[in-house]
Symmetry: C2
């Protein structure tokens, strides 16, 4: 009601454009001119708000964290009474989000960190914060689910939370290679099955 989409300034137009263009073409292949054209601003505006292309990369990763953070924070999977259902609900939401073209459902920071992890420490760190911060939002529910079922396994809640992110990131790579979301969905199904098996106290093999 107040503002936001009313009259976005050059900075937020550039950040929004970065999400689209970088996920489509990759960070390196995205030029400053292209970003400016996509955002409808000039190069002067770009370097007024960001002191370099790398600085925009860092800001884009932080912008990504905010947008995705808000999306998952208000998602209904948090309403489940059983913490395991909350974790499974999260994974189900990730599968449901596989809509539209590949550049639209894949992850900005996963894409950027692959290109910059050895060459641009600032971007690598921003991507690391984004991934680890997001994984951390799953930890409390995983720990609660472990307590409920009195598990004290060899693995930690942290490692399982990060594993969910690994499966998602890997699923995105397969989707990019194959040109479609189908295998990504299959991989997320395998992740769901893993979580169910891990936490099932009876663990009867779901046969035939």
């Amino acid at each position: 009601m107040t503002n936001q989409a009313a009259k976005p300034d050059a900075r937020s137009k550039l950040l929004d454009a970065a999400l689209v263009v970088i996920r489509t073409k990759g960070y390196c292949a995205t030029t400053v001119d292209e970003l400016c054209a996509a955002a409808g601003v000039t190069k002067g505006a770009f370097f007024h708000h960001f002191k370099s292309k790398d600085a925009l990369g860092v800001a884009a990763a932080e912008h990504w964290s905010e947008i995705t953070g808000a999306l998952f924070a208000k998602a209904p999977y948090h309403d489940h009474a059983d913490p395991l259902d909350r974790v499974l609900g999260y994974v189900a939401l990730r599968k449901a989000l596989l809509q539209g073209g590949v550049p639209e459902f894949t992850c900005l920071v996963g894409t950027m960190v692959q290109e910059t992890y050895e060459t641009t420490p600032a971007i690598r760190e921003a991507c690391e914060r984004s991934i680890s911060g997001h994984a951390a939002t799953l930890e409390a529910d995983i720990e609660a689910a472990m307590r409920d079922r009195r598990l004290s396994p060899a693995w930690s809640a942290t490692s399982l939370a990060l594993h969910t992110q690994a499966v998602l990131q890997g699923a995105f790579i397969l989707a990019k290679a194959k040109g479609g979301a189908e295998i990504a969905a299959d991989s997320i199904d395998h992740l769901t099955r893993y979580l169910e098996l891990l936490f099932s106290s009876e663990t009867i093999q779901p046969q035939s």
Copy 2:
């Protein structure tokens, strides 16, 4: 004995250099001049053997398939009598291969496809063939393990084989973000646990 390392020509020196440099800096950020310098050849040699940078990208993906194909073909995990042990042995080998720096143990085609999937179809297809071809080498063992245990589950051998690749690719992204192999190893442990749970006929929860 015959040749190979004896007197490598410019072409194979360039392909070997590409494996190192592209995995370190990414495809786009790797320049032709840099590749030539790393290989110890000149630009003339480069464009004598490859008609463009993209053509080298395709050839590098194929070179990667050959090298990794040979590595896994002669690995001892094939000797296990139980097909499930062969699959688990494969995953254990993937964990054991997490040695050296991050650029040394990560995957060339996973890196390249992220940057090129929307812009360079030829490279995307070469990467897809590499990943799917490698996953296919696991399918027969997975199917045999399913038959042995009389499983007829909702998932297919193909999707499980590809899921192992998704976990590995995702583990590489986390390793790049975190700057170390540890979380990658954790994720591979989760994959091993998934396979054990999936195929265990008793499926007693491994507690404590």
